[in-house]
Amino acid sequence: MTWEYATPEEYGLADLLCCAASREVQDNEIVFAGTGLPMVAIMLAQKTHAPNLKLIFEAGTLDGRPPEIPTSVGDARCEMGASRASGLHDAFSIAQRGYVDLGFLGGAEVDEYGNVNTTCIGDYLNPELRLTGSGGNPDINSFAKRTVFIMVHEKRRFTPSVSYITSPGWRVKKWPGGEFVHRKELYGAAYRGGPSAVISTAGVFRFDGESGKIYLDTCHPGKMPEEIRELCHFDLDISRVSGETLPPTREELHLIHEVLDPEQIFIPKVKKGV
């Protein structure tokens, strides 16, 4: 593989997100992937720097190596080449048993401690909008050592307080009272880790190891830290920015568009022939 970075005209935002997500994976890890862009990202990692990663699909495919990108984790394209095609009880049992290193998730809203909402907008009991619901988001986030969220960056989505905590971040609610405590305090012996990054359409965010508070790590090419801070309803820490998000390489773009998603199911082509 040639590690030759593409120029901004050669890739789109979805390409950038896909490659940034792919780079969160280390070789030999066991990765739990949801439908969509995360699937492409993980299969990209499988074909580049992490050939020995093991892929789990929630619907029951274990150590999958689909020859074509599945459109969802229940897809008939998941089974071919997998170690096992089984069911959800196996997938979640393996996750609760502690096998999963990394999970890729999405969200509609995120707060500054990585709590994510995919359930509703507005009051849960009188919602403005009911969304899809949790799916396996809180489960993967509870069981995996690290989770990475991929999100569209809109100011209303980066909020001091999400409408509903669907997926647990670094400061979570302790029931029955609902007071916020550090995740480690609540999870106790069941603690394995938590959100490690948010990859938005603006930049890559990480969480302080002590406080669990979000900070900006890298800005996507062309974005400035202050600009991204303005795109958050909370006071984003931009003091730790390490630079710019690395763009896709030409090899990665080739793999995404010619090998993994030639049908443009999840990732549109920006330019012909790239």
Binding site: G74, Y124, T132, P138
Partner: protein, 320 residues
Amino acid sequence: MSGKRITLQQAAEIIKDGASLTFSGFTIWRRPMAIVFELIRQGRKGLHLIEVNGGPQTEFLVGAGCVDIWESCWVGHELYGKYGANLSRKVGAKEILVEDYSHAEMMFRFAAAASGAPYVATQTSLGTDIHNPAYDTLGRAGLRDGKRIPKEKYVFTDDPFFGAGPQVLVPAAKVDIAVMCVQQVGEEGTVRVSGQYYSDPEAARAADITIVMAEEIVPEEYLRRESDRNTITSFEVDYILECPYGAHPTGMFGRYDVDGAFLKDFYARTRTQEGFDAFAREWVFGHDQMSYLEKLGWPRMLSLKANTALNYSTGIKRGQ
């Protein structure tokens, strides 16, 4: 012959107003749509759906006003419709009660029921609003009678054996009827699922009555020649019926793909109740399974047909 064979119409008639139901499949795969359509035609009311996850079957039943309670974690059409517009509308209008658990919790609830255990201990979703006691919808509605609906939504406790951290006890998912859609069932009820089996074995065993709709009813003896490849036991199945393409517009491993265009159209057109009603008039009412297939037509169905070497279709357009 075991006498388990019934018709599509009879299958729907077994499901009475007010019954609790669950289904085979996963999101947009292997859903018993033909029976769902028949339930709508028969005007079923007051259903309590308890699903590991939802999908088009949920959206059709909810849109048609068949459902009073939906207990699950997710509904949508994957790539072809990002959320459940009918459920969302009815939730907003308070025409339906929604009880949220996480996906793993729903799965473990069915596993507990299938194993005859009243509950199971998990360590998931700690600290989330899923566990918020104020959001116990069935409790708020005064429906926790300890029969079908457990007395508590959750019990929070500790692990007395290993100090493994806080434990969440989730109640078994007790359902009256499981409605399954699979590739093959034998005359005596033995089921062989190909590909991922999702939560089907647990769903079938958790239910008191299990109805299996299959692409084909095959000789029982054929399935029993390789008994280690079968998925659900003969005596766990009460009724069987053959209904080719019964899962359409959802897909079936090895047989046909998801009809994404159909789902996109359904999602786009059923944001409003008027839209749903029009869609149901076009595709559900006045149809039977044959006229539904006729309306879909050969070119569409052939493009969905799975390649037998790959188990999925190579003829459909999936992307933009």
